[in-house]
């Protein structure tokens, strides 16, 4: 315990924060302690609602609108932030404590150039003059490995890509050389290949200036690369805290262990279908797009009964567009979609009711997928009444059966509104609605990406069980390779509207790969704290074969 000798940079004791909901105050952070020394990086992890962002902001003496700090002490370098006057706190923010937000695209002011926004903090805090700050900005942009560092500051935020903006925001946070930076999920909104660049740039610059940092994330593998110590939060309370290697190797608490275990969930590949079997759905040479812009180019794949095809790709790869073609929302300009070997009308409005019934969708955002004004009874019951003509008692009995099937107690849930459900429960209702139509193919569009890991795992297991019981075909759209590993039988990798590679899962995760698949696979963070170092040195020496080219484009 050598660090005890020096006074810590940040000491938080018994922090309590309340949030306002429906006219009354509820505690959302309930007595959190936190100590951070100079130059140290603390990882703050937890699921949504754990209060990690709220704690991070409280380290700056800041509470969002609708929140208030109700108890405890926050001491930054000997200054009591709760007792300090507004102007003292304002003087610290941006100068000695800086913040990097989750979405750089939303957090840069769209009306001003990057450089002007960079210079704002140094100027208002009187740290340096305009010319000096501009000069400094170019230097930091260069260190953050931004392309064209001399000129990029003269661009507006909308002219710069997401990954670059995130680095520019880190540079901006560094402008006054703060003692502490709070990183609030800085890579969550980015694709995996871009994430690597941002992570390495952030880590370099924090090392170079010896800045202390609080790194907030829900991704264990990311925090493993970035933090010296990790603190786990659950519903506003601390679960445990330890240095990174100890925490990864031997978590003490059951909750932490369960978080760790989720990432290892995996199902074996099912045996391939007989060659003669007609696929439930087949896409053949589909080219489709919006207006004159083609988003899909000659895409084709098959989905067989009882099997899961995972369609993988980064944002803009066209994977969701493929789903829109299958459902008939976007008629293709060339190619066709076959259901049981028979070509489907391209436009859903021309399809027969049974054809519509056999292809069902589960959506990413359960919040927008369920009509907020309908009760569960109607949401789940409507497809049965509509397609199968069920009425009255028979209908209610089927709804109850289905609710039981998706592991929700029928009596308790049948009369609820979607707003009275948790995220995971909503997604289960989404599944029930799809099943109510008794479909052959279910398209799952990023169904777990908005959910916490534990909840997501429950959904994946449920989908898997239902598939076996009901002999369903799944088309699983995802950007997350861990999900692919967990439940796919076959994998289709897409990039810029084309299928780059497809085949059984076992073959996909075994070399040799297509270069893009290789890049995608190698970019998925692993729980090993040395993973990022190893990967970067491999890529530097050319062993990995891939460069950071795809994300460097604006």
């Amino acid at each position: 315990m050598t660090t005890e000798a020096v006074a810590p940079l940040l000491v938080i004791r018994g922090l309590r924060i309340e949030g306002r909901a429906e006219e009354s105050w509820h505690e959302i952070v309930c007595g959190v302690d936190l100590t951070l020394h100079r130059g140290e990086v603390l990882g703050l992890i937890g699921e949504s609602g754990a209060g990690k962002s709220t704690v991070g902001l409280a380290a700056m003496g800041f509470a969002r609108d609708g929140c208030r700090i109700s108890g405890g002490s926050i001491e930054f370098d000997g200054i009591d932030l709760r007792a300090a006057s507004r102007s003292v706190r304002r003087g610290l923010r941006g100068k000695r404590i800086a913040y990097v937000a989750q979405s750089a695209a939303a957090s840069f002011n769209p009306a001003h150039r990057l450089l002007d926004q960079y210079c704002e903090a140094p100027l208002i805090h009187g740290v340096m003059g305009r010319a000096e700050a501009e000069h400094d900005a170019v230097d930091l942009y260069r260190r953050m490995q931004l392309p064209d560092p001399d000129e990029i500051g003269f661009r507006y935020p909308h002219q710069v890509s997401g990954g670059q903006l995130q680095r520019a925001m880190t540079a901006m946070a560094m402008a006054c050389r703060p003692d502490l930076i709070v990183f609030d999920e800085p890579t969550t909104a980015l694709d995996v290949t871009t994430q690597i660049e941002v992570l390495s740039a952030i880590r370099d610059i924090v090392d170079q200036f010896g800045t202390a940092a609080i790194y907030i994330t829900h991704d264990l593998a990311v925090v493993a690369q970035m933090a010296d110590r990790i603190k786990v939060l659950l519903r506003g309370e601390e679960v445990e805290e330890a240095d990174t290697r100890t925490m990864l190797a031997a978590p003490r608490e059951a909750y932490t262990k369960s978080l760790w275990a989720v990432r290892s969930y995996q199902r074996d590949e099912r045996p391939p279908p007989p060659d003669a079997e007609t696929p439930v759905v087949e896409m053949r040479g589909v080219t489709a797009g919006y207006g004159s812009l083609d988003v899909l180019h000659d895409v084709g794949f098959r989905v067989h009964r009882g099997r899961t095809v995972a369609v993988v790709g980064e944002s803009g790869s066209g994977k969701s567009t493929a789903a829109r073609v299958i459902t008939g929302l976007l008629p293709p300009s060339a190619g066709e979609v076959l259901l049981d070997g028979v070509a489907l009308p391209p436009d859903y409005r021309r399809r027969a009711r049974t054809q519509l019934r056999e292809i069902q969708m589960i959506y990413q955002m359960a919040d927008t997928a369920l009509n907020p004004k309908h009760r569960i009874r109607e949401i789940v019951g409507r497809p049965m009444a509509f397609y199968l003509g069920l009425r009255g008692r028979a209908l209610e009995a089927r709804v109850r059966d289905l609710l039981a099937l998706i592991e929700l107690e029928p009596d308790e849930f049948i009369d609820r509104l979607p707003s009275e459900l948790s995220g995971g429960q909503k997604q289960r209702i989404g599944i029930a609605r799809a099943l109510a139509a008794e479909p052959r193919l279910v398209i799952c569009d990023e169904v777990t990406s908005a959910l916490d890991q534990l909840v997501a795992e429950g959904i994946l297991r449920l989908l898997d069980r239902l598939q076996t019981e009901l002999d369903l075909a799944y088309m699983f759209i995802t950007h997350d390779l861990a999900t692919v590993r967990a439940i796919a039988d076959e994998v289709v990798v897409m990039k810029e509207g084309r299928v780059v590679e497809q085949g059984p899962k076992s073959a996909m995760f075994r070399p040799p790969h297509d270069p893009y698949t290789e890049l995608l696979l190698s970019s998925v963070p692993e729980m090993d704290p040395d993973w990022l170092d190893r990967l970067l040195s491999e890529r530097a020496s050319g062993v990995g074969g891939a460069t950071d080219a795809p994300a460097a484009r604006p």
């Binding site: 941006g94 913040y99 937000a101 002011n109 769209p110 208002i124 805090h125």
Partner: protein, 314 residues
Amino acid sequence: MLQMIAQRLALGVLTLFLISVLIFGAIELLPGDIAEEILGQSATPETVEAFRRELGLDRPAHLRYLDWLGGVAQGDLGHSLANRRPIADLIAGRLANTLFLALYAAVIAVPLSLALGILAALYRNSLYDRAVNVFTLSSISFPEFFVAYILIFFLAQSGLFPSIARVTPGADLADKLHRTFLPALTLTLVVTAHMMRMTRAAIINLLASPYIEMARLKGVGPARIVLRHALPNALAPIINVIALNLAYLITGVVVVEVVFVYPGLGQLMVDSVSKRDVTVVQAAALIFACAYVLLNLVADVLSTLSNPRLVHRR
């Protein structure tokens, strides 16, 4: 971006064209014979016939329209049905009066409402903000003639300002401003409330944005947040609100002109409506509509220019 502005301009011209068709064609909407309808049951066949010739009803509609449009383009608005005088002569002086009054009110109202709106956004939820909210909500709700008569009641009876805004052509500016003070004040009160509410709302709307939180976390003070971080992004809605209210000033003067017996275009239009002097009403409507469309067009172009996303392309 130039292309976008050109598009807007073309759209504006198209809108004006459609409006002219609509204003002209409105007569055709009437079932039966417009001449009999307007002249009433008692009209003799001769007067009806004369009237029909006057309107050119014996010729096909599209030819009449082209004639009319051609005349309008050359400043010839036709003749009044009521007194046979050229409409252009009737309107010229009155249009100037109406524009003068609208401009007078705008010069007071625009800066005032912007300042008050920004202040309300800055001190939102304060006592000042709440009082302003109640006050503006009320004055939006008042009929213009109510505001006008209240002002007359308090300010004109004591002889401070004249309750009848008579302007003579030769009067000097100070005298004119004094005589038209009450109508201008009425208009100011009516539009200020709306403009400042919208200004406040446009700014407050943005204060929940992540980039405002970012600015606060950089240690930026409240005044600078509103002026430098929120205001530039609120320009487009604010410009549109100003345009809407300026347009309203030009058209909404009708009631105010009647109350204060002010010799403007609005008053002429009201008189002509009761006389069913169709040609004069058409001409006045066309002028008002043009002003309205032009203002909206200017606002459209300006708010395009205020958006860096549109000015600085990728």
